[in-house]
Symmetry: C2
Subunit: 279 residues, 2 copies
């Protein structure tokens, strides 16, 4: 950087961390909320310190404030405090120890069972309930709600990580948490204070031009920009002492074999078995 | 309220709006970010004023900062500016005029096509790609990203509304936006400044005890709390000059017939046809 250059702004630094480029002056609309969103990183090691009293209630109020399709509210959440249940969840999620460690662990459910109970109590049948669409809405609405909880947690100085590996065995979770038919764990969420050694760097993402299209989908620049991103992610992986993989290698490793799905190749029949016919 | 009572705090008012109870003193962890999340309401009428320059780039940076499963980044987004495309989208979404009106309209895609192109260019096959799990991850990650964009937009003083009705006809959208196989519109998002008459009140949600469980799913209080909520939502509906329905009536109206799905009863076969085998 030239000595006459002005110091990089907080915005320029945040964008540089997320997109892996050199900080340059930026003039995008910006404020503290956006700065907080840009600083997100998933944390996989937690101190035992409890979260402050009332934190769970605040996070759930934030979650319930997210949009929900036709106000159907087809999601629920289970706070898991029981150490035996935490241990079982960690085990089925390929031994992710932070599920046991973190002071607050939430299991987010796609849940049409409440609406079904409501209709039954009125003597009605919900013909629309057994459809693929209804399961998809429930999963999407659970995700919108959970992301609001994540934003709220991070705004309170807490860290988080989603646990998609709960989908390795939703049947076991349904038994463990005594879920009714029509309710299924879609992902977990660890919340707490990071161990100093677990405070990861912000992970670079694909350049905006790769994911953002205008009026029509375009792949014109994709190959060149992927090469740039591969180099950035390899540098990041080395700094984080991960195996030094490019993005290309990581995607191929994650998706090239059925084994890497850790049992989730069975997910469709599991979802059906848990009470979502996916018609 | 008794004259000696202290004035209700901003927190107490926000919680009262969201849960429909009288404001009472609250001592939950709180800050401006959480206040902004609690104030969310969907807006269905927009002024023509453009959003400030750089807004889209800020929103997409926020979206890309959300967690994404194994960093697969299996989502994309299309900004639709073409008036003819906006009109066609509004029409297929049951004539929602705000899709034409709003200054910024985004179509969010579940998108595994990029990862497929990447593998093809390396001469690899992604055995994990055709599974239901992979589609679900793509839809969930699109939702996490979009919700970050919504939080960022609202923090900038903009309003939003999700358009689930894009799922009425994802095939037409795929043609219109020239999507490759393996990319599908999961929902839309209007962003802009509300018309004064469209500035809706915060919508009350189910009491927390209904959606939040501890260690096991419980329905013990559900019926009583639903009755309370039914009364609250009926009051809200009357104030908003909507038909005065309880939550129970609204859920039954929305889900009791296949007709109310507006064609989304075909969604599973459409998703398969667009390149997600849902194995």
């Amino acid at each position: 950087m030239n000595a006459i250059d002005p110091p990089a702004s907080a915005q320029a630094l945040a964008l540089a961390a997320r997109y892996g480029t050199e900080p340059k002056s930026s003039q995008l609309p910006w404020n503290d909320v956006i700065a907080s969103l840009l600083e997100h990183r998933s944390v996989r090691g937690y101190r035992p310190d409890p979260v402050p009293p009332g934190t769970l209630e605040t996070l759930i109020a934030a979650a319930q404030s997210a949009a929900t399709s036709s106000n159907l509210q087809t999601w629920s959440v289970v706070e898991v405090t029981d150490p035996a249940k935490r241990a079982a969840l960690a085990e089925l999620a390929n031994n992710q120890k932070h599920i046991v460690e973190c002071p607050l662990f939430l299991v987010w459910l796609a849940d049409v069972s409440r609406n079904e109970r409501l209709a039954a109590s009125e003597g009605k049948t919900l013909e629309g309930l057994p459809y693929f669409e209804t399961f998809l809405v429930a999963a999407i609405d659970a995700a919108l709600a959970a992301q609001n909880a994540v934003v709220a947690a991070e705004a309170l100085g807490l860290s988080t990580v989603y646990i998609g590996a709960l989908r390795n065995d939703p049947e076991r979770i349904a038994k463990m948490l005594e879920l009714p038919p029509g309710a299924m764990a879609v992902f977990g969420l660890c919340i707490g204070y990071p161990k100093p050694e677990s405070a990861a760097e912000v992970k670079p993402r694909l350049p905006q031009e790769v994911v953002l299209h205008r009026d029509r989908y375009s792949t014109t620049k994709e190959n060149d920009l992927r090469a740039t991103y591969d180099a950035r992610l390899e540098e990041f992986s080395k700094r984080q002492e991960m195996s030094a993989y490019t993005w290309t290698d990581r995607v191929i490793n994650r998706l090239s074999t059925i084994k890497a799905l850790s049992g989730r190749d069975r997910l469709k029949s599991i979802v059906v078995g848990l009470g979502f016919p996916l018609r």
